[in-house]
Amino acid sequence: MIPPQFEYYAPHSVDEAVALLTRFDGESKVLAGGHSLIPLMKLRLAAPRVLVDINRIANLAYIREDGAQLKIGATTRTNDLLDSPLLAKSYPILTDAAQQIADPLVRNLGTVGGNLCHGDPGNDLPACMLALGAEMAVVGPNGPRTILASEFYRDTFVTALESTEVLVEVRIPKSRPRQGNAYHKIEKRIGDFAMAGVATNLVLDGSGRVEFAGIGLTGVGPTALAATQAASVLVGQMPDESHLAHSARLAQEAAQPTSDLRGPMEYKRAMVSVLVRRVLGRSLARARGGA
C-alpha cells in the first residue's frame, strides 16, 4: 500500500510551519512521527493534499525542567521518554506509559506531540496529561497560546488545536515531594490499543493526606477522559483501601466504553475499576517513597 499523492513541505522553523498550514488551511496535515498518519493515509482514511513535516525543525525535541514546569518538546520520540533518568525518577507515569506504547521500533519514531494531537482515544499519553494537569503550548497565525489538557480533547480525532496551529511542547507541573503517579493498560495483544488504560497522579501533604489527585482514562470513551469526581473524592483523605475502592467505583461510572473487537463494554467498565485501584495503589506507594 502507498499513500495517495500529496505535496511535501519540510519547514525549518515553527513560524514557517504555521505559514504553510495557514496557506494550505483545510487541506494540510502536520507530519511528526508519522506512525498514525501514514497508516491512515495508506488505508485512505486520510488524504491531505499537503504534508508539513515538522521533523526538520531544530530544537523541538527535549525533556527539561524549567521553572515550575516540566517541558517536553513536540518531536520528542517515545523512546526518549523511556530513556530519560529524570522521568524515571520524578515522573514515572511517563516511563510507565512509554514502555506500553506500541513496540520499540514504533517508539523510535512516534512522537509525544503526535500521540497527544492525534486525538485517538486509544493513545496513552492524553490520559497521563489529564492526570498530571498538563497544558499544551501551541503556536498559530496569531501567536502562541496554551490549552489545558482537560479542554484539549473534544471528540474522537477532534482536539482544540486549530488546523493552522502546531503543538510546540507539553507543559507539566513540576514534580513535588510526596508526589507519585503511574500508568497501566490492558491490551489484547502486543502493540494493540488499550482495552482500558488508567493514569493516576497523587500529591500528599506532610501529614500524608491527599493534596492533589488526577485520574485519566484511556480507550473507554470518545476521547481520553478525566475522571474528575473519582479524583476529587480522594482529596483531603488519608487514603486507604476503602478510599481507593470508592474512587474506582466513581471512575467506572465516568467511563463510557463501547463494545468492539477489544471487548464488551461491561468487561471494559469492570477493568477500569480494577485498574484504578491498582494504579492508585502504585501511585500511593511511589508518593510514600516506595517503588
Binding site: Y8, A10, P11, N108
Partner: protein, 184 residues
C-alpha cells in the same frame, strides 16, 4: 507499483520545496545515494525498487510486523512507515549492510548457528533489531531480548531459536571485545 522515480546525478538540496517530486539524498550502507521520487514514496519501496536492496521485506505494510526494519541514524525503524524523503541527510543501514568485507556479522553468524529462522521472511528485520539491541545493551537478558523484538513478528513462531541466536551473538561480541582488550 510504488513510486515513479528516476535517479539523478546533479547535486541539489532542500526538502522544503513542495511540489510533486522531491529529492532524496541519503547514505545507505555507507554509500551516498540520490534520487528524485514522489513524496509519497515510502523508504521501503525506495530501498527495494530504486536501489534494488530487496533484503528488506514488506510484510504487513501497516507498521505491525517489523519485516521492513532498517536502521535510521542507528535506530531500528519500520521503513514501511517512513517517507523516503525523510531519510534525506540521514544514514540508513539495511540487512545488506550488516556484513563487512564479505564476512557475516556476529548476529548473522548466530542466526545461522542457532537456526534462528524458519521461512526467513522476518529474518532481516529480526537481525536489524538484534544488531541495534546489542549495540545498546551488549549483554541482554532473555526478557530484554523478548522485549526488544516485540515489534518483529515471526509467523512461523520460531521465537525460541531467534532469542537463542541473539543471546549467542551477544556473547560472541562480548568475548571478541574482551580478546581485543576493549570494554566488556
Amino acid at each position: 507499483m510504488a513510486a515513479v522515480s528516476r535517479p539523478v546525478t546533479h547535486a541539489a538540496s532542500l526538502t522544503s520545496t513542495g511540489g510533486s517530486v522531491v529529492r532524496v539524498q541519503t547514505i545507505v550502507n555507507g554509500q551516498a545515494v540520490a534520487a528524485e521520487v514522489e513524496p509519497r514514496t515510502l523508504l521501503v519501496h525506495f530501498l527495494r525498487e530504486v536501489l534494488g536492496l530487496t533484503g528488506t521485506h514488506i510484510g504487513c505494510d501497516t507498521s505491525h510486523c517489523g519485516a521492513c526494519t532498517v536502521h535510521l541514524d542507528g535506530k531500528p525503524v519500520k521503513s514501511c512507515t517512513v517517507l523516503a524523503v525523510q531519510a534525506t541527510g540521514r544514514e540508513v543501514r539495511t540487512v545488506e549492510g550488516l556484513e563487512v568485507g564479505g564476512k557475516l556479522s556476529p548476529v548473522q553468524e548466530a542466526f545461522v548457528a542457532e537456526h534462528g529462522l524458519q521461512c526467513g521472511f522476518c529474518t532481516s528485520g529480526m537481525m536489524m533489531t538484534a544488531t541495534a539491541l546489542l549495540k545498546k545493551n551488549p549483554n541482554p537478558s532473555e526478557d530484554e531480548i523478548r522485549d526488544a523484538i516485540r515489534g518483529n513478528l515471526c509467523r512461523c513462531t520460531g521465537y525460541v531459536n531467534i532469542v537463542k541466536a541473539i543471546r549467542l551473538a551477544g556473547q560472541k561480541m562480548q568475548s571478541a571485545a574482551e580478546t581485543r582488550g576493549g570494554p566488556a
